[in-house]
């Protein structure tokens, strides 16, 4: 089996994150049509469908569930 994509892991510790209604925050690195290549904090890559959040650009942060961006994050002020 190839290296699992980010978020694709199902472990005894965390279970299947999709079943758990968990969504992860990813940052867009490049865009091709309706798909964006995104990375998580560990630098792992995932291709994400972006039709539900409109046009995205590199640097945008998306809330991703089951390979689909379901919302974009509003900027969180740092330091508080």
């Amino acid at each position: 089996m190839s290296e699992p994509e980010v978020g694709a892991t199902c472990s005894a510790e965390d279970g299947c994150i999709t079943c758990g209604d968990v969504a992860v925050v990813l940052t867009v690195t490049s865009v091709a049509d309706a798909d964006a290549v995104c990375t998580d904090e560990q630098g792992r890559q995932e291709t994400v469908a972006t039709e539900l959040v409109g046009d995205v650009r590199p640097g945008d942060r998306l809330l991703v569930h089951a390979g689909v961006a379901i919302e974009r994050l509003t900027a969180v002020p740092t330091g508080g």
Binding site: C19, G20, D21, A23, V25, A66, V68, I70
Partner: protein
Amino acid sequence: MRFVDEFRDPELAEVLGRQITSLCEPGRHYKIMEVCGGHTHTIYRYGVQDHLPENIELVHGPGCPVCVIPMGRVDDGIAIAERDGVILTCFGDMMRVPGGRGSFLEANARGADIRMVYSPLDALRIARDNPDREVVFYAIGFETTAPSTALTILRAAKEGIENFSVFCSHVTIIPAIKAILDSPDLRLDAFIGPGHVSTVIGCRPYEWIPRDFGMPLVCAGFEPLDLLQSVYMIMKQFSEGRAEVENQYSRVVAYDGNPVALRVLADVFALRPFFEWRGLGSIAHSALQLSPRYAQYDAELRYELPGVRVADPKACQCGEVLKGVLKPWECKVFGTACTPETPIGTCMVSSEGACAAYYNYGQYAKQRLNLEVLR
């Protein structure tokens, strides 16, 4: 700084705990239901309950997608997978959910081809790569997950992929909350609303809860401090005599949800008149099926299915656990006949199921809290 650090700050957790305690009315017991299984997981994993005074009780709700799938629909999935040339695909936790004829894993051992995918788009890719096979996606989940399935069907239609269909068991959260509020055996004071479901549906669909039942509901994020802050916001409402829908998770959840996702859902899906929930019984308008426009992608129309209602095992008390009436450890088979390795009921399968979450973390909550949160 990691995104989550500020939501696990030990000092803030203590301060919040103290503020919550100061808002408690002496002698009053508060029952707050967290609707979402993801919250249940966080609560046990980080020992959130240990930061709360004894008279605030967190009650676990029905929001674990695999926990609510009835046995009969697992059997339907197996019947599809046993057909010649079919590849059935599903999310990871679904593989171990027991049906009347065993689980998907057991069906694979008998020769079926059931594959785990992370996204319905992966299932569509398998269909594209295997034009001589029929690929079926076994769709489960609340409104967080339903948009991914909808989008996948739209892409299949756009690309004209014909060897792909969806067996749809998507459910909706509002009717489940209604069913719980109508259930006579439970008295609740407030709700912690599901954060990621609300990303899609927004906060407005909950407004009837404070209006008709006088109960606060706060949509919450998934870090330990998100949950503590939500409890604080609920207690603040009590102390000020308010009952409202509030949004603790505003860094992600817009009050009106995601309008594009809602439009896509309305296009691809239609409400089922009834759907059977494991343990909760049949609930009106509580699940989605493909709308007539996308009927060609509906596995329930494409294949002949047993569609039989299978009664839950006698020993199983998942229904009571899903309604928050019983705590996991109060079930007679908890930890003995029913464990994550050999689940009898669904709540023991997914780590968001209350039984599995308690089994994995419950006894260790205090140490874990000290090690992980208060690090």
